[in-house]
């Protein structure tokens, strides 16, 4: 079953409601009903030894939740923190359990409706990103919006290999 058909089971008949945000100049979108809150950047605590894709945690309303960087999943470098930087807290399944996860974003735009007719599957070749990390691409006003496949990204820990810092011989 192609992914566009999958989506039509879950979202409304004719359009998806999404939150759009920027990562290193590219526009991404998430289903709006996953989003719990959008935070200004919060103090982070590093987790040495974790996968680089999710190398820190934050305090979100008394809970310690992981902070994930989708940029690493899409082969981009890390960004500097700016006044526009945000953390988008979503609720998503992680290893079959519901979990709260924070996603870094360079800039958050708005919640918008994307008609399904404007979406298409990611092409299997010619894309500089991993095809399995992308649920679909949407076109809006001439630009391409990437809808990431969060389940796959999370399951593979962002596809990155290795740890944050070299452990001293242990």
């Amino acid at each position: 079953m192609n992914r566009t058909a999958e989506m039509s089971d879950r979202s409304s008949e004719r359009a998806m409601l999404v939150l759009t945000f920027d990562l290193q100049g590219e526009t991404f979108a998430l289903e709006a009903d996953l989003v719990r809150e959008v935070l200004d950047v919060a103090p982070e605590t590093a987790v040495p030894g974790a996968a680089p894709f999710v190398d820190a945690v934050i305090n979100f309303r008394g809970r310690v939740i992981p902070l994930a960087d989708l940029r690493l999943a899409f082969g981009m470098g890390r960004s500097e923190s700016t006044r526009d930087s945000r953390i988008v807290v979503i609720e998503h399944e992680l290893d079959d359990e519901p979990a709260l996860i924070g996603l870094r974003a360079d800039k958050v735009h708005e919640v918008t409706s994307v008609p399904l007719s404007d979406t298409e599957d990611a092409p299997s070749v010619g894309l500089r990103w991993r095809a399995d990390f992308i649920r679909c691409l949407a076109k809006r006003e001439g630009e391409i919006i990437v809808v990431p496949d969060l389940a796959q990204i999370f399951a593979t820990r962002g596809g990155a290999v290795g740890t944050v810092v070299p452990f001293a011989q242990t």
């Binding site: 987790v47 974790a50 945690v57 305090n59 992680l94 359990e97 996860i101 452990f167």
Partner: protein
Amino acid sequence: MSQSDPVAIFRQEAQDLLEQIEQGLLDLAHRPGDRDLVDAVFRGLHTLKGSGAMFGFDALAAFTHHCEGAFDRVRKGQALASAELVAAVLAAQDHMRALAEGREASIEEGEALLARLHAAVEAGGGAAPAAAPAETTYRIRFSFPADALANGTRPLPLLDELRELGACDVRALTDQVPPLAELAPADCCLGWEVVLTTAHPPSAIEDVFIFVIDDMKLEVEVLEADEPAAERAPAVVIEAAPDAAAQAAPAAAGKAARGGESVRVPAERLDELMDRVGELVIAQSRLTQLAAGSADPQLRNVSEEIERLAAELRDTMMVVRMVPVGQLFNRFRRLIHDLARETGKDIELVTAGETTELDKTVIERLADPLVHMIRNAADHGLETAEQRLAAGKPATGHITLSARQAGAEVLITITDDGRGIDRARVRAKAVEAGLIAADAVLADNDLLQLIFHPGFSTAQTVTNLSGRGVGMDVVKRTIEGLRGALEMTSEPGAGSVVTLRIPLTLAIIDGLLVRVASARYVIPLAAVEECVELSPEQDLRSTGRQLLNLRDQLVPFIRLRELFGAGTQPDPYQKVVVVATGQERVGLAVDQILGDHQTVIKSLSSFHAEVETFSGATILGDGGVAMVLDVPHLVAAGQRQDARLRAAS
């Protein structure tokens, strides 16, 4: 279904009763003559039947009725509590459990169980069951004084009771009813004549009226009876009533003395309460911080007071959730009984330290791993009686479960005196499974640890008992999920010991807050032995092999800033926190020790649960997050580092 719903309460009650009955039966198997045990089992069955009938569990009530009947006969001395009878009722437990849970239970199975039960009772029975008495027909006439209704007498329930004795033909006698004009409506002017055919004795008829007999007229006549002497004067019968059966109060249920009241609380409420206490501790620690920075003495006073109260509340909560481990151990008595039968081996379960207490949630999570390990011991560890005798051991194999508290942990051991672990077989299996190279050299401990590796199984044949794919690796993961640890030792020919170390509490611990570069970490205080200084000279000198000389003992130490890739320069006067797990110690070099911190441990998401160095995270007074170090893991890492450095030099 709310918790105050009697049906929900009954379900829980039924489980408790079935457990009590089972324990009683198991004890009875050892002491068949013990009257108190017989009474206790009877009472349990009686209550189960009565309450079951109350709440619609008719199949359960009907089935239990038979078991109760069998035990009633034992109680009355008409049958013996033979081994077969006990086994028959034990076998019926699962069927009753299924009925109590509302699950489908096979009718054929039920009948087979009852047949077995009856056979057991007959075989051990003294008096043969009385043949069904013939039915007799009685004519019963009764009437009440006029003011009976006003005094609360109600004829209808009495008629209902008569109907329960047998087929009835009821006729109202209206000869005493005055004309309407003279009738006082509240007067009772009716009489009744009932023709009753029943197998019950006449005393049963009198019993119906026993509470009202003083204020009424009653005649009971046998119709077409052989014996002309009908019992007509109820008063006479009542005097002869079996008052003589001086029923001695059944003794208290054996050992368990009821000391003090207790209240049942659903586990979810305890969990909620625990969460609230956790949040309170966090808020209180923020208050303490704020107060420390304030010049207002009143604020500081209140803050100290709240700190004290929060600590006490937290301690109380810990205790509230604690449950003696004996509860868990008792469940295994039945398991051993079944295992012994299934394997054909002679197995005895020995328990020690039943009063040791553990957090309720932890006990629940330990149940499955313990079952698995006991099955393992019974299936693979213990030899058959012949094998044992041939090896010069007593024919009965022993499995010992013991629990004891050691500091902030509880140690639970499962010991068997069986054949021990065959190292050669473990090696072969590990090589076959690709876990180690054929020529790898392993310390004995490491070899045994392979058993806990996923994909490993020492069973040559997958037996019914332990080959369910549950595996020792799942056991290990479950224990680690409780932030505990698993150790195993084994002596060929003598047996094996598995030791579980479980932290006393899951949620709140006392921690030592430390700083490494710009990040803060928490070290569980229970694991901390001492803190010493690390001077710059010592630091330089020990780059070759990182050891501290601690009162003439060499203790390896790990520089946490290296471990965590801090990058910046260390503080001039670092500290080393010496932590220990069991016999092994390691020093953790940190930049600064910030002080004690009552830590509400938050578990980490799956992303970070994989990072073994940390067992959780905590929220500090200023809202920041500190990772909580997993001491056993760091200790092991330190040992490995030291071994490597030693090998290299």
